[in-house]
């Protein structure tokens, strides 16, 4: 069954069950996303995809709101643009976006100012380097949930990571903050594959960034005596 709705004053038809985001993308309209990923369940966490729907008091996250017959949607009204800009400014004030080029591009597009909230407390934490495969730098984490979801029933069914802390203290972590090798983690790196901000990064990529040469990286961890002469 198809429904018809107005998006930015243009009539479009959508399949039943489609979200506003899907409807927009199918019709060539651009709604920005950050936490949304085609391979994970959408949870409308970052709110960058909000749109204005006539008759609804609050801005609606396009990644989870289903399109319905007769809806009138504005994807780039002034209110929407202001909300997105503010979200970007709050992100920039509290986290390290240096590894998130797509978000930095959005900031330019929306004229977001890095120094809008100079008093904001930054969410900083020490780099976690506790396994041979990847590092975790939660100063760069925007809590998009993707890593938690792919570790759970969006892909891996391993359930090694989840939230810890509450409110502003919320962070992604392991149970009892154990080192990764001590958890149920299978080191598949599904989490690394969906991280949008470089908070999760392959170890070798990280070492290369730190200025180590491929040669130096390749001789790491090879000192272990492999063969015992009989």
């Amino acid at each position: 069954m198809t429904s018809k709705l107005l998006m930015d004053d243009k009539e479009i038809s959508v399949e039943q069950g489609q979200t506003l985001l899907e409807a927009a993308r199918e019709n060539g309209m651009d709604i920005p996303t950050i936490c949304f990923h085609e391979a994970t369940t959408s949870n409308a966490l970052c709110r960058i995809c909000v749109v204005e729907v006539e008759g609804m008091r609050l801005l609606q996250p396009a990644c989870i709101v289903q399109a319905a017959d007769g809806m009138k949607v504005q994807t780039k009204s002034e209110r929407v643009v202001r909300a997105r800009r503010t979200i970007l400014e709050m992100l920039a004030a509290t986290m390290d976006l240096s590894d998130a080029p797509e978000i930095l591009t959005l900031m330019d597009e929306y004229g977001a100012r890095v120094d809008r909230f100079p008093e904001a407390e930054r969410r900083e934490s020490a780099l976690k380097d506790d396994n041979p495969m990847y590092v975790r730098d939660y100063s760069k984490c925007l809590l998009c949930w993707r890593c938690v979801q792919v570790c759970a029933d969006d892909a891996q069914y391993t359930f090694a990571i989840n939230f810890s802390g509450r409110g502003y203290e919320t962070q992604i972590g392991t149970f009892f903050d154990r080192a990764i090798p001590e958890t149920t983690c299978v080191l598949c790196g599904q989490c690394v594959g969906v991280c949008p901000t470089g908070a999760l990064k392959p170890k070798r990529e990280y070492l290369l960034e730190q200025g180590m040469s491929p040669q130096e990286i390749s001789v790491m961890n090879t000192g272990r005596k492999r063969r015992k002469q009989k």
Partner: protein
């Protein structure tokens, strides 16, 4: 942020799932691997090996210059040389001339029967095609095999016998269409991790019911409706009892049995002895659970069976696989989407290497070598005089080494395999390796087998060559070079062509054609004679690969086989008997040892033990059940000695309910505690596959200083 110079799309070199990899390359160094979320096989998901386990490419121990042994080796006294000081670096010309001189000398002196080759399930289709062509066309021998003999030979022989084709009948992703599925002899989560994700998804999101039949409490059991913990080697009674239940309770799909099968009456008689109570007695699985499993499988709308080496690696591996095939015949759960007989193939390209004729009984395309018509086809393709190719069946992997003696195999060529880890009863294997007169190793590291060689030819890993792999669900996919070969190493196909020309010159043969400039020409030559691959071109598989049979250039591929009929016509029921494993536990050796693999490692360890994967899991462990451990005074992490009639190893114990009472488990990746020193070299009479899955051992407490590496200890939460 590192910006890659290029991102190269290729296929994972580890297991048979065939995941798509994107290699992110900077300054000819892969610093990251990702996978596209629209990839056909894995949908963006990878396992630890695929995503992180490529660093062996850059390991300092990788050999990138041709080597010749300083000390000349003699038959009977051959030694291992791991240290570079025992080798002389030589030019490619010298190395290849030395190989050609010696192979031709032995061939002219001792004839075709003295020549043998191990092809490689890690290498590309093109590499394997060329190597079997070299031995068949130049040395006129069918002594060509590879590690398929050690993994699914039992399944292949059974499927050939009953169906007439030996690959998976359906694709792995069709598990999402199953209502009920059986996983047996496969620790899928560790050995085909991405297929295991789909199995879990089938259960959790699509309402499928999973039945696990396995002696170990593997990870999948957490998602299973039913777990049948059978004693190793009792597959035939358990699955035959299920067949009996299906017959006795009249759950048979008579339409299918009558229209599509033969031999049912004789089979029915043979089934009488397999009551669920008899099966319970020999396997330890409660008869009622066997009944329930049979009912679930038979009454499902769509049901399928997925199996691994727990079925095939037995001295009755063929019979084990036949017992599964019978279930599909009785219920008609084959020939439709979402059903099927699915042996999960181990290596990235074991399906392809088999397709390429890297086997002693078959040319490419499973054409029997003892059929003169097949021979004529390949004689034409390879420019060989009429009647020139051998009609004689070759020796299998296991037989090649056991025939290494005066008057038997004198020269062996090993491309990428490691029999000194992968054969059973390694002390005997060592003796056989020593008897060879000439040994060539073509590999990337000097592994336990290459260390015996006279000449070492440095080849390239997957990241430095082009070609194709054929995955477990018959999907032929591209392999692409990410950067040029390191040092002086060369892609296998180029080494083989260069060598073949030198051999031909010495033999004075007209050329069988080796002047390829790109691997695509090699695939084309093969596909022109092999109808399964006839419609496959590099252009057609540029993006997503094709699932063979692809008989024509416009054919879309064949995900589901046997929809109308079986290749042999009717499916054949084969009456079975219960044959116990060759070595049952007794007072002296009271435990059953079963071997297998770990998520973090790959087979003989040539790749993964030269990788950060080895940091993730650095030592061998033996799993023992808490009840057994208590009796023997063994605590978790204690050093123990595990001994069989053939050898012994010392390693730490993991006390865990993952194994069952009376059964201990050792992964076979670790040379310092090689499980195959213990295993039994008893063979399945038809498939010649060894009995890796069951032998008798004893377990003793040992001292810390007896451990090969006392300072190394794995510490992982999930084990």
């Amino acid at each position: 942020m590192i910006r890659p110079d290029r991102i190269v799309t290729t296929t994972c070199p580890y297991c048979g799932v065939g995941c798509t990899l994107q290699l992110h390359v900077k300054d000819d160094f892969i610093f990251k691997v990702t996978s596209p979320f629209d990839s056909p096989v894995n949908h963006g998901n990878l396992c630890v090996k695929g995503r992180f386990g490529y660093d062996y490419v850059y390991h300092p121990k990788r050999i990138t210059t041709p080597l010749v042994r300083k000390m000349p080796q003699k038959a009977g006294e051959r030694t291992q040389a791991f240290d570079l000081s025992e080798w002389r670096e030589v030019t490619w010309d010298e190395a290849l001339d030395t190989v050609a001189d010696n192979l031709v000398r032995i061939y002219q002196q001792d004839g075709s029967d003295a020549m043998a080759v191990y092809c490689c399930a890690k290498a590309t289709n093109e590499d394997n095609y060329l190597l079997q062509k070299m031995y068949r066309a130049l040395f006129r021998t069918n002594n060509v095999d590879h590690c398929t003999r050690l993994c699914h030979a039992g399944s292949v022989v059974a499927l050939q016998q009953a169906v007439g084709s030996s690959a998976m009948s359906n694709t792995a992703s069709q598990v999402l269409l199953n209502d009920v599925f059986i996983v047996t002899g496969s620790n899928t989560s560790e050995n085909h991790p991405i297929i295991a994700l789909q199995m879990k998804e089938a259960v959790e999101k699509h309402g499928a019911k999973m039945i696990v039949v396995d002696p170990r409490r593997i990870d999948l059991v957490d998602f299973a409706e039913l777990w049948l913990p059978l004693k190793p080697g009792t597959n035939v009674p358990v699955f035959s009892a299920m067949a009996q239940v299906i017959v006795k309770e009249n759950l048979v799909n008579w339409g299918f049995v009558n229209a599509r099968t033969e031999g049912f009456t004789e089979f029915l008689e043979s089934l009488e002895k397999f009551t669920p109570e008899f099966a319970e007695q020999v396997s330890g699985v409660p008869a009622e659970d066997i009944r329930q499993a049979a009912r679930m499988y038979a009454t499902a709308g769509n049901a399928a069976i997925y199996w691994g080496m727990g079925i095939s690696q037995l001295s009755h591996g063929t019979a084990s696989a036949l017992a599964l095939i019978h279930l599909a015949f009785l219920t008609g759960h084959v020939g439709r989407d979402g059903t099927g007989l699915n042996p999960l193939r181990g290596q990235n390209n074991v399906q392809g290497a088999s397709d390429m004729g890297a086997m002693p009984f078959h040319y490419p395309g499973y054409m029997r070598v003892d059929n003169p018509e097949n021979r004529a086809k390949w004689e034409r393709a390879w420019n060989i005089e009429e009647g020139g190719l051998s009609l004689k069946l070759g020796l299998t992997t296991t037989e090649i080494l056991s025939h290494a003696h005066e008057g038997g195999i004198r020269a062996l060529y090993i491309m990428g395999e490691n029999p000194m880890m992968s054969e059973p009863n390694l002390n005997v294997t060592r003796h056989h390796m020593q008897q060879l007169e000439f040994l060539v190793a073509q590999d990337i590291f000097i592994n336990e087998s290459g260390a015996f060689a006279d000449v070492f030819l440095p080849a390239t890993p997957f990241a430095e060559k082009d070609g194709t792999f054929s995955n477990t669900d018959r999907r032929v996919q591209r392999v692409r070079a990410a950067h040029p070969p390191r040092g002086g190493s060369r892609p296998d196909w180029q080494i083989l062509c260069d060598l073949a020309l030198r051999i031909e010159a010495r033999l004075g043969h007209p050329t069988a054609k080796w002047d390829y400039t790109h691997p695509e020409q090699i695939l084309r030559e093969m596909a022109d004679v092999n109808p399964d691959y006839a419609g496959i071109t590099y252009e057609r598989i540029d993006q997503v690969g094709l699932i063979y049979p692809v008989p024509t250039l416009d054919h879309p591929g064949t995900p589901t086989l046997f929809t109308e009929s079986f290749p042999r016509g009717r499916g054949k029921f084969v009456p079975l008997d219960y044959v116990p494993v060759k070595e049952e536990p007794d007072d002296e050796y009271p435990f059953i040892l079963t071997t297998g693999r770990l998520l973090e490692h790959w087979h003989g360890g040539t790749m993964t033990r030269h990788s950060a994967l080895n940091e993730a899991y650095p030592e061998a462990r033996v799993e023992i059940h808490p009840a057994d451990a208590e009796i023997h005074g063994i605590r978790n992490g204690d050093p123990v000695k595990v001994q069989s009639r053939r050898g012994e190893v010392v390693l730490r114990a993991t006390v865990t309910e993952k194994t069952t009472v009376g059964v201990v488990f050792i992964p076979w990746h670790f040379q310092e505690a090689a499980a195959n020193l213990l295993t039994n070299d008893a063979l399945d009479p038809q498939a010649k596959i060894p009995e890796f899955k069951a032998c008798a051992v004893q377990v003793f407490p040992a001292r810390l200083e007896d451990l090969p590496n006392p300072d190394v200890q794995v510490s992982r939460g999930r084990y």
